[in-house]
Amino acid sequence: MKALLFNRNFAIGLLLTAVFVAGALISFVWTPYDTSGVDIANKLKKPLSDGYLLGTDHFGRDILSMIMVGARTSIAVAFVAVGIGIVIGVPLGLAAAASKGSLMDEIIMRSNDLVFAFPSLVIAILITAIFGPSALNAIIAIGIFNVPVFARLTRGAALSLWQRDYILSARVAGKGPARISFEHILPNVTNLLIVQGTIQFSLGILAEAGLSYVGLGAQPPIPSWGRMLAESQTMISFAPHMALLPGLAIVFTVLGLNLMGDGLRDVFDPRIRREKR
């Protein structure tokens, strides 16, 4: 843990991420202004004017409050989507590794390839177009594409672990493949999963923003970063803060998560650690 905090990437990433997570958590109990109402009289205020730290949008809603509540939407969607990927993908990967070369391995990995072969955002648009736009459908759409990522990663790491002596001794002791997978393989791939999880998390936030941007994510009046960007488009020439601020929120969150992921990998991955020394 100490090694982690001394890693510069990780520290900066953690700080950025913590700011947005904190904003999202605080928004549950307090925001500077209410985001569910409109206040036309105070529309399009510039940042740092009349008590609005980041200004207001075209409906007079406070942009800081919108970004805080929007962070909630983004983080929730990305978090659950990564969760879906891990819960479904990891067991699939473990099963495929345990039965390497069998029919089951083939079926699992080829169906993963199938999902991988589709452009993810296009399929996400298809799913939300069929089932209607909502935050829930965005979660499912993004989640599905996390499954093969985690399945492949898990299988690859598990395959090399299956060659190890301690696995052999576990087998000699009479443990079945399922038990070995969960008791010995899984704990040893956790580091990798955490690193990949942070990366997928940042991709999830980008995907959510993309879906909301085209109107397929969380529906109004729930604030969302992508929709804030979409709504600001025609006003960018006279109210640039409306586009800039949610844009920066996305940039810094994704940057934070990526730096964190890099830092984690530096510390966790023995090969890289050795090179650095």
Binding site: G37, V38, H58, F59, Q219, Q233
Partner: protein
């Protein structure tokens, strides 16, 4: 000497301008027509492109909404108001070279009012008993009852005269009598028109006219700024207008439309079948906030389903003042002290999408939870207009003088009031101007007091054009982008 100099300068300018003057125009609109037959679809985009430019009717709307002679040069109306005799213009040719005669008129009107006709406004022809060709230049219309608005009805885009020979292919290749003829349609992009050299009237000033379809407001802004297009009719992002006004390259024309924008309310769906609930709805809404917030100030508040620029307009906005406390009280009286949940289904235009967010917030303030769903036009027509599966919706009714839709109990908001229906029936056969005016005012009052829908504002139509373009219609008395008098300044 001064005189001589002036003449020289003038002719020099004239020479230069004839050499440089532009003779074509590219006009953009947001919506593309689904096909090109104005007599068999409700889509306003068809009329926008073709009305007056390609197709003409017996009568036609002027830029101010007046009804003027079109293909009929003049007409006589019998004493009892039952027989209209139209005298057609001479020398009118369709774009395919055939002559227009009385049989074409008979064909067009019979086709429009036929039992199996696909015409979107069949009510326009409801009172016609028969259409006969007296001789090649005379058509006699016999009505079953006098109809004070017959000449107005015949000016609609749904009543234009089509050629029987071209009817099979009209949806792809429209053949009309107008000052422009149809050249080419690149679907998803543009429609090209060119001047009709054999036009019966004043020929168009432009050689070529192109209609371009740009649905995205950001793309519309970019195309206008880059001067890729010469004009945008119905510019979709009102927030950019101050910028165009400040730019000497452009002119901004702000016109009235016939578009009453309303919060359509499903009168048959509980709890909206309760007058108190509808009244509460009307008082919960702050129109000015919607006009400022969604339209950036463009639009006039209305209190009934009637256009403020019409001489018979009565200002009824006082009937539904913004008063959230009263709205809450009315809801409590109706038994909804804790509010209720409903749906708010929004079509794509920004007045609906943005207005919807503002209205949802205003309704939330009095306890009504309106769940927003954004629909595409096709879905909206399917679910709301035909399926009547909605609680609330926002839409602009752009047809001229369309208060009659409230007499149709099967219309999407499902208002059923026998008194109103008989009033409209009487109005349709009344020819006396003063009495008509009286009845029209009464009709506005009835639907305002019944709070059928919440009436929001009269839609304004902003047209952005390059500085030198002249002759565009300022207002939109009907759905039309009439280019017959449009040209470039010298």
């Amino acid at each position: 000497m001064t005189f001589f100099k002036a003449t020289v300068t003038a002719s020099a300018v004239l020479l230069a301008s004839t050499a440089l003057a532009k003779t074509d125009v590219t006009v953009a609109m947001q919506l593309e027509p689904p096909h090109l037959d104005p007599t068999s679809a409700a889509a306003g985009a068809i009329d926008s492109v073709l009305y007056s430019n390609v197709f003409e009717g017996l009568t036609r709307f002027g830029p101010d909404g007046s009804v003027n002679p079109g293909l009929a040069e003049s007409w006589d109306i019998s004493e009892d108001g039952l027989t209209y005799t139209f005298h057609l213009r001479e020398g009118v040719k369709f774009h395919d070279g055939t002559d227009l005669d009385a049989s074409d008129v008979v064909f067009s009107l019979d086709r429009a009012r036929a039992e199996d006709s696909a015409n979107a406004q069949k009510a326009l022809f409801a009172g016609i008993a028969s259409v006969e060709a007296v001789d090649p230049a005379t058509v006699k219309l016999t009505l079953s009852a006098p109809n004070g608005s017959m000449l107005f009805n015949l000016a609609w885009g749904d009543a234009v005269i089509v050629a029987p020979e071209s009817i099979e292919t009209i949806k792809q290749t429209p053949i009309g009598t107008g000052a422009f003829k149809f050249d080419n349609w690149v679907q998803g992009d543009k429609i090209d028109l060119s001047r009709n050299e054999n036009y019966w009237g004043t020929p168009a000033k432009l050689d070529k006219a192109t209609f371009k379809f740009i649905s995205d407001p950001t793309a519309a802004f970019a195309a206008m700024m880059a001067e890729d297009i010469d004009a945008f009719v119905g510019y979709p992002a009102p927030e950019n207008i101050p910028q165009f006004e400040a730019d000497p390259r452009f002119q901004v024309i702000l016109g009235n439309t016939e578009g009453e924008t309303i919060l359509g309310t499903n009168n048959k769906q509980p709890p909206f079948d309760n007058l108190k609930v509808r009244k509460a709805l009307a008082h919960a809404i702050d129109r000015q906030a919607i006009i400022d917030g969604a339209m950036f100030g463009l639009g006039t508040p209305i209190g009934s389903h009637f256009a403020p620029h019409n001489p018979d307009y009565v200002d009824l906005t006082g009937n539904s003042q913004y008063d959230p406390e009263l709205a809450k009280k009315l809801l409590a009286e109706a038994g909804f002290a804790d509010g209720f949940k409903t749906t708010l289904k929004l079509p794509p235009p920004s007045y609906a999408r943005r207005g919807g967010e503002i209205i949802a917030a205003q309704l939330r303030a009095v306890g009504i939870d309106a769940e927003i769903s954004n629909l595409e036009w096709a879905q909206w027509l399917e679910q709301v207009f035909r399926g009547k599966d909605f609680g609330l919706t926002i839409v602009s009714h752009t047809e001229p003088f369309d208060i009659g839709i409230y007499a149709r109990p099967d219309y999407y908001f499902q208002y059923d009031n026998a008194e109103f229906q008989s009033l409209i029936e009487d109005l349709n056969v009344e020819a006396d101007g003063d009495k008509r005016s009286e009845m029209i005012k009464k009709a506005q009052n009835i639907i305002a007091e019944d709070y059928v829908n919440a009436y929001l504002f009269q839609l304004a139509i902003p047209t952005i054009a390059k500085a030198g373009l002249q002759g565009m219609w300022e207002d939109a008395p009907t759905q039309a982008v009439d280019l017959t008098a449009v040209g470039w300044a010298d």
